[in-house]
């Protein structure tokens, strides 16, 4: 629990502030429309539904302002880089930008529901009071003229008793834009559920551009001034507290009260969302500009199991370990950008990505390069993004745990450690690395195998055999594989991977692993990094962190563990 607080306090603080502001804005607007005398007569017809609608509208403006900011990835990278003097914990929430985006989106959906339901009641009540013939204040107010010489007299937007609500909705700016932007919102949400996003990414990506309609519609939504309050002049002449009760006598020229005059207010949404829209427009322009920069493909390597490695160069590109880039291939799809973890080390003079078939776009990319037709397809790169995993170099003992596709950042980290080691970089404090690689089957990661293989050989040549200790765990095994392994027990290299280290089957027993390492390094600081595969995981991280708590308790030596996660997509 203590560890969780240390790592997450800032994210929790941000969420509390965000939610607190939501509550504050909601309550403030609610009280304004519920108690302000300006809306006395409006409330006479509409009741509390007015306040609910306006309060949710204000929160909708606030959240619509926020929703564009987390997707400005270049802006976030800029903030991350500029604030490098801030501690890691303060910059970590920048990596969870998409989670925040989704949270704000859920809040928008909830507030939209509240807003629509409140306005349904509002329209119904306007309609009823327009048709009412009981001579009540509500019906008098509703009958205030739309066309008289006092042009601003009207309160009820429904002009005549025969107008249906559907007609009013679709002929008023607010109604029509409201329906359109709600449909856009619903389509965006249904195409953005994880199932669709994961398997049919293009549906999500292209449909999500409906946000443009949402933003434009939101700005136009309030133009009609359909929510009306009494004008200041009218309040000075005939304040509702004095005049409301004598509403039958308003027509009487001798009475001191006149008909109240009403006005709508200017649309406010644009004030909230103008700045984020400009930021986002700037972000898209920047992405476009960066994509125009030339990317030179220096090497194309096809690994087994249809894994494509692209080694590239770009002017002015500099990366750190654990970062990722977004890649676009115009010949496949003009608008789609897909993230890939960088697998090269910063010390190398190129940067590389490994692409595995995971859907339409990746399949087309691999096919395009397989055909070996010149000229090579053009590639555009945006990035790098993501928090750097540079902490790993400052600990004597590093425990790296990668599951499935999460192993890719470790390619970069391991290579970088190797380069630093070779150059005797004194900033590298690492003496020993324990690398745990857990995956269903090694087929798709044969390229990583080769990397481990070459690192193994180089360790031997330098005489530093104990530097890199890795354990490979295959969770998708069957009795055939185990049988083979048992038979080939004596062989020096593993039959599956060709590595010196034998493959284990099933999930690691973390208790054993942690206690072994803790016993072997009683006074060292350990850096455990964990990069987990997206989706249903092949292993459960929860038991591992439970064991961590035990290790911190007395009896396990004084090994300190700080659970950090190298972030990357």
């Amino acid at each position: 629990m203590g560890n969780w607080v240390v790592n997450h306090w800032f994210s929790v603080l941000i969420l509390v502030i965000w939610f607190g502001l939501n509550v504050f804005l909601f309550v403030q607007a609610f009280l304004q429309y519920e108690t302000d005398d300006k809306y006395y007569y409006t409330r006479e017809i509409l009741g509390s539904a007015l306040a609910w609608a306006r309060a949710s509208a204000r929160c909708l403006n606030y959240n619509s302002m926020l929703i564009l900011v987390p997707v400005c990835r270049n802006l976030l990278s800029f903030v991350r880089g500029t604030c490098s003097f801030c501690s890691r914990t303060l910059r970590k929430p920048l990596d969870h930008n998409l989670t925040f985006h989704k949270l704000v989106a859920y809040m928008i959906c909830l507030l939209t529901a509240v807003h629509i339901i409140a306005h349904l009641f509002n329209f119904e009540r306007y309609s009823r009071s327009r048709r009412a013939t009981d001579g009540s204040l509500a019906s008098v107010l509703s009958n205030l003229s739309h066309h008289g010489k006092e042009g601003d007299a009207w309160l009820n937007p429904i002009h005549s008793p025969d107008t249906t609500l559907l007609y009013v909705t679709f002929t008023s700016i607010a109604g029509l834009t409201g329906v359109i932007i709600t449909i856009a919102l619903i389509l965006m949400v249904t195409s953005a559920v994880e199932f669709i996003r994961k398997h049919y990414f293009e549906v999500f990506w292209y449909t999500h551009h409906l946000f443009i309609i949402y933003i434009i519609g939101l700005v136009i939504h309030g133009v009609g001034g359909i929510v009306r309050g009494q004008t200041k002049k009218s309040m000075e002449e005939s304040h509702p507290h004095e005049c409301a009760e004598s509403f039958e006598k308003w027509d009487d020229p001798d009475h001191h009260c006149r008909h109240p005059q009403f006005e709508g207010h200017f649309p406010q949404s644009w004030e909230w969302i103008l700045a984020p829209c400009i930021l986002y427009a700037f972000e898209r322009i920047l992405r476009f500009y960066r994509s125009r920069q030339k990317v030179v493909i220096t090497k194309v390597i096809m690994h087994p199991s249809k894994v494509l490695e692209l080694q590239m160069k770009k002017r002015g590109f500099s990366m750190e370990v654990g970062q990722y880039v977004f890649v676009n291939c115009p010949s496949i799809s003009f608008l789609e950008w897909h993230p890939f973890t960088l697998t090269s080390a910063p010390e190398e003079d190129f940067f590389s990505i490994h692409v595995r078939v995971a859907g339409d776009w990746t399949e087309k990319l691999i096919k395009a390069f397989e055909q070996q037709k010149l000229p090579l397809p053009r590639i555009e790169v945006d990035g790098p993004f993501g928090t750097v995993s540079e902490d790993v170099f400052q600990y004597e003992v590093a425990m790296l745990i990668g599951a499935g596709i999460g192993v890719t950042p470790f390619a970069s980290i391991l290579k970088s450690i190797w380069y630093k080691f070779q150059r005797a970089d004194h900033k590298l404090k690492t003496q020993k690395i324990y690398f745990y690689w857990i995956c269903r089957e090694t087929g798709a990661f044969a390229w990583f195998n080769d990397l481990l293989n070459s690192l193994e050989k180089e360790m031997e040549e330098l005489g530093k055999v104990g530097f890199l200790n890795y354990r490979l765990f295959l969770t998708g095994w069957d009795s055939n594989i185990v049988g083979h392994a048992a038979i080939n027990f004596d062989k020096a290299t593993d039959i599956l991977t060709g590595l010196k280290q034998k493959t284990s089957f099933g999930r690691p027993m973390w208790d054993n692993e942690f206690s072994t390492i803790a016993t072997a390094h009683p006074n060292s600081l350990l850096w455990p990094g964990k990069a987990v595969e997206d989706g249903p995981s092949a292993w459960a991280p929860a038991p591992m962190w439970e064991t961590q708590k035990k290790l911190l308790a007395p009896g396990f030596g004084s090994a300190q563990l700080r659970p950090l996660q190298p972030s990357g997509e």
Partner: protein, 194 residues
């Protein structure tokens, strides 16, 4: 774009539309709006749509994540046969269900969403997609005793090859697998344990 199964998105959209219809219907009925009986209809139609759309169909390639507890509704849908499999039928059904709800403001949003779902289902049907239920994976039982068929036919201790060859069977295979069944050892075996 070739691999997009439009029916999957149509399913999400239709499920959302069902929920929106129910919500709009509840508002109209509870608030006793004008013509609120359309609201009651919307609740019923929304529930029907939700029940029909809740079981997710299986993807053409790869595994599909089930919705929680959809097994029971999948069983019901399988009974409907072509009515649940065919997406033309679903498109028409959703279009038909959405029309009455279009008369009331509270439920018009549900109508429009359901019409959109219907259009996407039509697109899916034109492309030849079909609803296939997600079958539960048969539990793999360990094959205990599956390989034990007959007792071994040539158990040790075995005499050398020459002794195993019976006279008159010169052209028999030298590896000498004598026929199965209990056999008498040609060389007497004594138990030498003291």
């Amino acid at each position: 774009m070739g691999q997009i199964e439009w029916a999957m998105w149509a399913n999400e959209q239709a499920l959302a539309s069902g929920l929106i219809l129910v919500a709009g219907g509840i508002v109209a009925t509870a608030g006793r709006f004008t013509q609120w009986y359309f609201g009651t209809y919307a609740i019923a139609a929304g529930v029907l749509v939700c029940l029909l759309e809740y079981p997710r169909g299986s993807r053409a390639k790869g595994s599909t994540l089930e919705r929680c507890g959809q097994r029971y509704l999948t069983a019901v849908l399988k009974l409907l046969g072509p009515l649940s499999r065919n997406y033309y039928f679903r498109a028409a059904l959703h279009l038909a269900l959405s029309v009455p709800a279009g008369f009331l403001l509270a439920t018009i949003l549900g109508t429009v969403c359901l019409v959109i779902a219907s259009i996407i289902y039509l697109l899916a049907a034109v492309r030849g997609e079909q609803w296939t239920p997600i079958e539960p994976r048969p539990k793999e039982r360990p094959q205990v005793g599956g390989t034990i068929k007959q007792p071994p036919s040539n158990p040790p201790p075995r005499p050398p090859v020459e002794a195993r060859k019976k006279p008159g069977e010169e052209d028999a295979t030298p590896a000498g697998g004598p026929p199965g069944g209990p056999r008498v050892n040609p060389i007497p075996v004594t138990d030498e344990v003291v």
